[in-house]
């Protein structure tokens, strides 16, 4: 970052400004599950027909990402301190090319650094047509990937890498091998949500992007403030991590609605959704004094005082 600041302070920046796109593609697969996968795109190809590589933060760990050359452009990125946040436009020429990088039917040796992933055609090593790739992912129209998150990264060309014969090199120095995954040097990135399809024709599809805070109908932190009652699913977090439905972690014995007697089996197991019901379970009694925090989904402090 210091290096970047040093460079951009100069009037003559002897380097190229690049925009990279990490798109966390979200779609509903044929089983009806919401799935996601990160794809990496850049709007150009290296002169030697090599794809660009750049480390990225994948849930806390740095990993190499191959940026596939793709006709993609973003316009209207702006920061304003007043009024509504800017809604940039992301234009993509070929949505199919997004999907092919994560489809198993594309038949391309993905991740080898060569440019063969950038072409979408039949013949040669590309043995899947667009319809097959999209059908496999169950993406049938442009609206199917709405809600995906775009990470708009900006850097200078000298901070990018290429992969030649399995080894990584910096863009400018292709004789010194890079070992390990270096920390990416980049400008602060911007995150946007694909909010709606603003235009589409036979050449490009344009998505209107929204700030994650500016998505219509979304409530932050996505919970209703209810004073007396807990809206969470009873025992919602008692199972495995795959089936967490709420923050209710109770996995002990069952209680009846009266809250005061433990039933032998959980046949009559009902929660009254009140703080008292929570205390009976976690503190042992409705009036018990305990330091154990209650996983109560309501907001008791928001109730009116009389």
């Amino acid at each position: 970052m210091t290096d970047l600041i040093d460079t951009v302070q100069e009037l003559e920046i002897d380097d190229a400004y690049l925009e990279l796109f990490d798109i966390n593609l979200r779609w509903v697969n044929s089983d009806g599950d919401l799935v996601s996968d990160i794809i990496h795109l850049v709007d150009g190809l290296d002169n030697d027909n090599l794809n660009l590589w750049m480390p990225y933060d994948n849930s806390g760990s740095l990993e190499w990402a191959e940026y596939i050359a793709c006709p993609i452009a973003i316009e209207g990125v702006a920061l304003t301190s007043t009024g509504a946040p800017a809604r940039p436009t992301l234009s993509i020429a070929n949505v199919v090319s997004l999907a092919r990088t994560i489809s198993s039917s594309d038949g391309v040796s993905y991740g080898d650094g060569d440019s063969d992933e950038t072409n979408f055609s039949t013949g040669g090593s590309y043995n899947a047509d667009a319809k097959t790739v999209l059908a496999e992912l169950n993406i049938s129209k442009n609206e199917d990937i709405l809600g995906s998150i775009v990470n708009h990264r900006k850097t200078l060309r000298k901070n990018t890498y290429v992969k030649i014969s399995g080894s990584y090199y910096t863009y400018s120095d292709r004789s010194t091998t890079i070992t390990g995954v270096p920390a990416p040097k980049e400008f602060p990135s911007g995150r946007f949500v694909l909010d709606r399809v603003s235009a589409e024709n036979n050449l490009v599809v344009q998505y209107e992007l929204a700030s994650p805070f500016d998505v219509q109908g979304l409530k932050i932190p996505n919970r209703y403030v209810i004073g007396k009652y807990c809206p969470w699913d009873y025992r919602g977090a008692a199972g495995t991590t795959d089936s967490i439905k709420s923050g209710c972690t109770w996995n002990g014995g069952g209680y009846t609605i009266d809250n005061d007697s433990v039933s032998a089996n959980s046949a009559g197991d009902v929660c009254a959704k009140t703080v008292q019901a929570c205390k009976v379970r976690f503190h042992g009694a409705e009036d018990a004094d305990s330091d154990i925090p209650l996983p109560f989904g309501g907001f008791p402090g928001s109730r009116k005082f009389k």
């Binding site: 380097d15 690049l18 002169n47 060309r157």
Partner: protein, 138 residues
Amino acid sequence: MSTQYSFTIPSSLNLGNTNNESISTDRGLSRQVSFSILKASFGDGYSQRARDGINSKKEAISASFNNRHYKEGNLIAKFLDNRQGLNFDLTVTNTVTNAAAETTEIIRVTCEGYNLVYVNDTTVSIQATLNRVYEPLA
């Protein structure tokens, strides 16, 4: 010298030629180069500049094939017809002063149109504009 401005028409395209034909352009091949520069202009005559994107050099090349034998001219026209919208490799010189040996570079170009003139029964002329692209070979 002539191979320094040339491209090859491979026989594999089935255009009628049984051998790979190397076609040289006429003298006077011109390369119109422009750069994509991001520029922020400030006050009294100074600005900050950076290159825009990976490939910031754009080139338009004017190539002529004048007074060729009609068979060669027809082959060139057929090749450009075959490649319309597809790219092909063009070899140009890039030898510099005091270089030890003659060197060439291969740039990838597309042709979006050409002008074919039938000069007489046995002679044709072609003028074509080629645009440089940065992409895998079609």
